[in-house]
Amino acid sequence: MSHVDIRDLRKSYGTVNVIHGIDVDIQQGEFVVLVGPSGCGKSTLLRMVAGLEAISSGSISIGGRVVNDVAPKDRDIAMVFQNYALYPQMTVAQNMSFALELAGESKDVIAGKVGRAAEILGLKPLLDRKPSALSGGQRQRVAMGRAIVRDPQVFLFDEPLSNLDAKLRVQMRAEIKGLCARLGTTTIYVTHDQVEAMTMADKIVVLNGGKVEQVGAPLELYDHPRNVFVAGFLGSPAMNLWPVEAIAGGLKLPGGSILPLDGRHPLPQPGTKLTLGIRPESLLPVADGPIRAKVALVEPTGAETIVAVTVGSETGTVLLKERFSMPVGTDIGLAPVAGSLHLFDAATGMALPVKAS
């Protein structure tokens, strides 16, 4: 069994704490994405699982065995690095067989495993090439080949797609996800790209400032963010977050419009300061909509239209499926889709409880 358990994991460099007690459970075969802004500790966490960084306290276990003091090579993991880290003087085949060779496997076994991995990844014609003669996508595939020939308990990916162009990234995203699903290997994948996280993960761990903000399935996090950080981090364009004040039966928005509550939340005490969150796709232009806004910029992408608006002194975004054209500065009314309001405590940033339905 290759589940990974991370318990109260901490990391400090001297007096600087970078990881403040992280708990994550990763089930056998699960694809878990660690996501967060730069410097949130996601790569450090992954490197600790790999054994490339020492653990200050807490424990990591892989397949039920605590590996805190186990050398990287004995953890039965394979890692794919952002810059691929292919051995430049070795051919593709040699790169892929290096680990097996060091493990003392016989030539026949190595040839068989490398051949199979090359088959899976479409690397057969490239086996005799050096990494310098490969394109970015091919290098990425060799790095994955190097990982899969070892048939490890856990795959670790450290921002593997960051060096690829946008089109290739989308393609490799699907390839990696498909491959991991086919092999059924437990995978931990680090990225700062929330689209990658949303599309690939079985489970997302959102990290910020060395702490776990929320763990859950992608859509669960998207639909029910636990706090303002997760709400603002997941989703593109990002959720609109506006400071509001509770009044009897509704919310007073920036600029003075009054938005009636949809009944999903218990009525907050009038006068309470809150943060209102509405996803851009949950706002519709309605002539007499309760949210009074001004068009600031219209960005048609073809499939959809992104409209930047100002609401009072705040800015916001509306994502429309249909074509929309309106001169900048026009006053419009916006209405939220029913049940799409998110309310957060302005002081703590935590989501307000939703009424049980």
């Binding site: 790999a50 054994g51 490339l52 050398a71 990287p72 090579k73 993991i77 394979a78 890692m79 690095f81 952002q82 810059n83 880290a85 292919l86 051995y87 430049p88 003087q89 290096f98 680990a99 060091l102 493990a103 310098s132 190097r146 070892r150």
Partner: protein
């Protein structure tokens, strides 16, 4: 070739650079041509023709006579032996030290590195007398070890300095990937770092070979027994005895210089790429 000419025609600056390059090459080659031509002339012809005139009557026996008169078979062997031991040994030691200092975590790495690099700052001449005293106390005067050990001590710091900065420039993910693949430090050094630093090692090999081959002062101080002399000492002695035999003297010079030229020609393609390596992260 045609492409080259076209580019030169389009860019006058390139033409000027090429001309300057040719001028410099001529200036550098001139003494060598002078020595080679003279080494093939008889004394009479040397006196009657210009130094850059081609020999009219070839006198290859100059080489034969110089070789035997100067006892060069002995000093040639000594030079070959000292260089063949010192140069690879020095580079191996430097590479291992540079790897350890650059890639293995240690509390005193920086201090040790500074100490080693400090060695490049001490002029060699200043150290001659103390080194002689030391070698003498160790009873190593007139022995190969007595010469090779100080050569190593003076060669290693520069090589460690160059290799250290090269190894540090190697992305750390490369050694981490190897670490995960199951390699220990020694395997990482031998299988990953040595192969990728071949060009720079070849460059160091040439530089160190030429320096060792031509080294004079230290050998003069430590090798007092004529049978242990290296080529530069043999050449000096020859020059003292047969300074009027210009043909033979220049033949002796060619004999001394030729191996270094050969080593340079063999390794020069690595040498050039080695000097450029590390300039950009590959």
């Amino acid at each position: 070739m045609r492409d080259h000419l076209n580019t030169i025609r389009k860019d006058p600056l390139l033409l000027v650079l090429w001309l300057a390059l040719i001028c410099f090459a001529v200036i550098w080659i001139a003494p060598f041509a002078f020595i080679v031509f003279t080494s093939l002339k008889g004394n009479g012809e040397i006196m009657s023709t210009g130094p850059f005139a081609l020999p009219t009557e070839l006198r290859p026996d100059n080489y034969d006579v110089a070789w035997n008169r100067g006892g060069f078979s002995r000093s040639f062997f000594n030079s070959v032996f000292v260089s063949a031991v010192k140069v690879p040994l020095g580079i191996a030691l430097s590479a291992i030290a540079a790897y350890a200092l650059a890639k293995m975590p240690g509390r005193f790495n920086r201090l040790v590195f500074l100490l080693i690099v400090f060695g490049t700052m001490i002029p060699f001449q200043v150290m001659l007398a103390p080194i002689f005293t030391l070698v003498n106390k160790m009873g190593l005067v007139d022995s190969y070890a007595g010469l090779i050990l100080p050569y190593l001590a003076f060669g290693v710091p520069f090589q460690v300095f160059i290799l250290h900065s090269f190894f540090r420039g190697v992305p750390k993910e490369l050694s981490e990937a190897a670490l995960i693949d199951g390699a220990g430090h020694f395997t990482i050094f031998r299988r990953i770092f040595l192969p990728i630093s071949l060009p720079i090692l070849a460059a160091l090999f040439i530089l160190d070979f030429v320096a060792t081959w031509n080294e004079f002062a230290m050998a003069l101080v430590i090798m007092q027994d004529q049978s242990k002399w290296t080529l530069p000492l043999g050449l000096m002695s020859f020059q003292g005895q047969f300074s009027n035999e210009y043909g033979q003297l220049n033949a002796a010079i060619v004999i001394t210089v030729l191996p270094a030229v050969l080593v340079y020609l063999i390794f020069q393609r690595y040498f050039v790429s080695g000097l450029a390596a590390g300039a950009v992260k590959g």
